[in-house]
């Protein structure tokens, strides 16, 4: 009968027959519920400018892209556009300009696996991001997490399996179903760096690829990753204020979650962020990935039968604790950078400053690791607090040494300059903000527009899913 047919349709995975699988709208007719809930990630559109919230950041990241522009994450709907818009990716004028490498697209689009498969992974990872501007045009979608044909969960990028193997963990294929419900997220919500790899293309040209790599060989901990980077001699940038060689941590969301109680007890990302939802007699995974505090009745209540307000208050208290230690560590790190600058000014040598910079480098790594995945205060409250405390210890050790160095050079009672607003902090960091915005606007008026035109012509652009996608950023607030 009809109902039964509906049930069968709903519960067996049709083979997705369309050709352009990177366009999520093509999946809609097979999986209407998942599609329409996925589209709702659009609702989370608010930009929270972290450099306004925590101006210290610009000091910590002086000399690096993050000091220019850095926001809290919003819905997957905006992932691609935010990558294009952020001042970090600069204002390319052709396929070869732009400060950033192609690797930056990796976690923003299902066009990436398509291109990797077509051009080869190393070719994909070679060159500037503008190279693929006209081809990578669809935001995170079905093909990012699902097999193109069977719709089974699938990791579409090879960097995750390589990291799992390095860490001695089962690959995606060998993992349990429940772990797969984490691992599709761990394609992206992980700490990474770009490993330089020399290679020779089929025409014999020597090239250098910058390959997304996860530092997991010594385990998925803050200590393990630090050791990894120190062993391979990696540094992301030199802080412009203090001359310290810095490691940048990016969203080790999966790694920290694993240390938390939910991770320990096998509750998966999808359990909270994609709670089952009932529509009529069908239960399906809600694909509107968002803050689960918006969906507590489905995300928390099946496991915790309790009134939502109480539970929310408990979560909020976790945030407050984290924030207190977050501010302490960040403030002391910022001061340590500025005090080092003073020491340099009055003649301290690199040799004198070596122990200081070692402390700052390590302290900033710990701090960043703890906070870069914003929700770690909930995913792993204890580990987050521990790491922040150690970060602060290191920052303070640097500052103790700095008083001595400064005294030796005749400076007593030095107080670091004020960095209490985004403007002040960016000035200290030497960020030419207005210039960056102007260049970006020029790029958006020209090259970016061309990209979408080409993509549309090639049939790669999912127009339906670009609606209202470009209305907000930290620097244009008057477009709507």
């Amino acid at each position: 009968n009809e109902r039964e047919q509906e049930r069968i349709d709903l519960t067996t995975s049709p083979v997705v027959k369309q050709e352009v699988k990177h366009k999520s709208s093509e999946w809609a007719r097979y999986y209407p519920r998942q599609y329409s809930s996925w589209k709702k990630t659009k609702e989370s559109s608010e930009i929270i400018d972290m450099l306004e919230e925590k101006p210290q950041l610009a000091v910590l990241w002086a000399g690096y892209g993050f000091a220019k522009d850095y926001n809290a994450p919003r819905g997957h709907y905006y992932a691609l556009q935010d990558n294009v818009n952020t001042l970090r990716t600069g204002a390319p004028t052709d396929a070869k300009t732009g400060p950033m490498p192609t690797a930056c697209w990796t976690c923003k689009s299902p066009d990436v696996p398509r291109i990797q498969e077509r051009d080869g992974e190393l070719e994909y990872f070679t060159g500037k991001w503008a190279k693929y501007g006209h081809e990578i045009v669809n935001t995170i979608g079905c093909a990012s997490c699902h097999d193109n044909n069977t719709a089974e969960l699938q990791v579409r990028v090879p960097h995750l399996d390589r990291a799992l193997v390095a860490a001695g963990l089962p690959t995606f294929e060998d993992s349990t179903h429940q772990e797969k419900r984490n691992l599709v997220c761990a394609q992206c919500h992980v700490e990474y760096y770009f490993k330089k790899e020399k290679w020779t293309d089929k025409d014999g040209v020597e090239k250098v690829a910058k390959v997304v790599t996860l530092p997991w060989a010594n385990g998925l901990t803050v200590e393990g990753a630090e050791k990894y980077y120190n062993d391979v001699g990696h540094t992301d940038f030199k802080n412009k204020i203090s001359g310290t060689p810095i490691l940048k941590a990016q969203h080790p969301g999966y790694e920290l979650y694993k240390t938390g109680i939910h991770g320990q007890k096998g509750v998966s990302c999808a359990d909270c962020h994609m709670p089952y939802t009932q529509e009529g007699s069908v239960k399906y995974s809600d694909h509107q990935l968002q803050n689960p505090l918006n969906t507590m009745d489905r995300s928390c209540m099946p496991c915790h039968r309790q009134d939502e307000k109480t539970l929310e208050a408990i979560v909020h208290r976790k945030y407050e604790r984290k924030d207190q230690l977050h501010e302490l560590a960040m403030d002391n790190l910022a001061k340590a950078h500025l005090e080092t600058a003073k020491a340099m000014e009055v003649g301290a040598t690199d040799e004198e400053l070596k122990p200081v910079r070692d402390d700052i480098r390590s302290g900033q790594w710990y701090w960043d690791y703890a906070v870069a995945s914003h929700p770690s205060f909930f995913h792993a409250p204890e580990e987050t607090l521990r790491i922040l405390a150690v970060a602060n210890e290191k920052a303070q050790n640097a500052r103790i040494k700095l008083v001595g160095v400064l005294a030796k050079h005749g400076v007593m009672n030095y107080a670091a300059p004020d960095f209490s607003t985004k403007e002040k902090a960016q000035a200290l960091a030497g960020v030419p903000y207005e210039k960056l915005v102007a260049e970006k606007e020029a790029f958006k008026a020209t090259l970016e527009k061309e990209w979408y035109k080409i993509a549309e012509k090639n049939g790669d652009l999912d127009k339906e899913n670009r609606k209202d996608v470009d209305l907000e950023s930290s620097y244009f607030n008057n477009r709507k």
Binding site: T11, S13, T176, H177, Q178, Y276, V282, K283, S285, P302
Partner: protein, 177 residues
């Protein structure tokens, strides 16, 4: 071949001994209650009070009895085989006091319960079961790849606090005769 028939004989002897023991202990522990569908039969053993009390206060108390979750419901033979096995195990445990205050369900028991959850809540679980089917794991295939319904529905139907001695209000249960 020879080994096989020795085994057979041994099995038969073991069965006879077991049967005698079974009758004896079944008598001591009123194990015939397993033949009944009435939940009150379970609390012939006070050690089942906790589960009775929690179930009694749950959404399942109105329509669903113990055996509807805990015994195979698909065919007559499985059902009575399970009753016999359980009756035997529980009687043994009860008589010899080998259970622990926080009893836990056996793997086999969990397998059966899960089957029953799914059979009652068929349509609503179809997405889950089909998701699970895709990642069919032959090592642990009975409960949807290790995932049990009550991993999420933690309090269905026996509540959060469940120990022989810990569950509130399970003392008076015995009076429900």
């Amino acid at each position: 071949m020879k080994e096989k028939s020795t085994l057979k004989i041994l099995a038969i002897i073991a069965f006879i001994i077991a049967a005698i023991f079974f009758v004896y202990m079944a008598y001591i522990a009123k194990a015939w209650s397993y033949l009944s569908k009435d939940p009150k039969a379970c609390i012939n053993c006070h050690v089942m009070n906790t589960q009775y009390a929690t179930w009694q206060h749950s959404s399942h108390a109105r329509d669903v009895t113990c055996v509807e979750c805990h015994l195979p419901t698909d065919n007559f033979f499985d059902k009575y085989k399970a009753k016999a096995v359980d009756g035997w195990n529980h009687t043994l445990a009860f008589t010899f006091n080998t259970y622990e205050p926080a009893m836990r369900i056996s793997d086999d028991g969990a397998k059966r319960v899960q089957k029953n959850c799914i059979s009652c809540h068929e349509s609503i679980t179809s997405t889950l079961t089909s998701n699970a089917d895709k990642y069919h794991n032959f090592k642990d295939d009975y409960v949807a790849n290790g995932r049990k319904c009550w991993d999420c529905h933690k309090e269905v139907p026996h509540g959060k606090v469940r120990g022989l001695t810990t569950t509130p209000h399970n003392l008076g249960v015995k009076e429900v005769k």
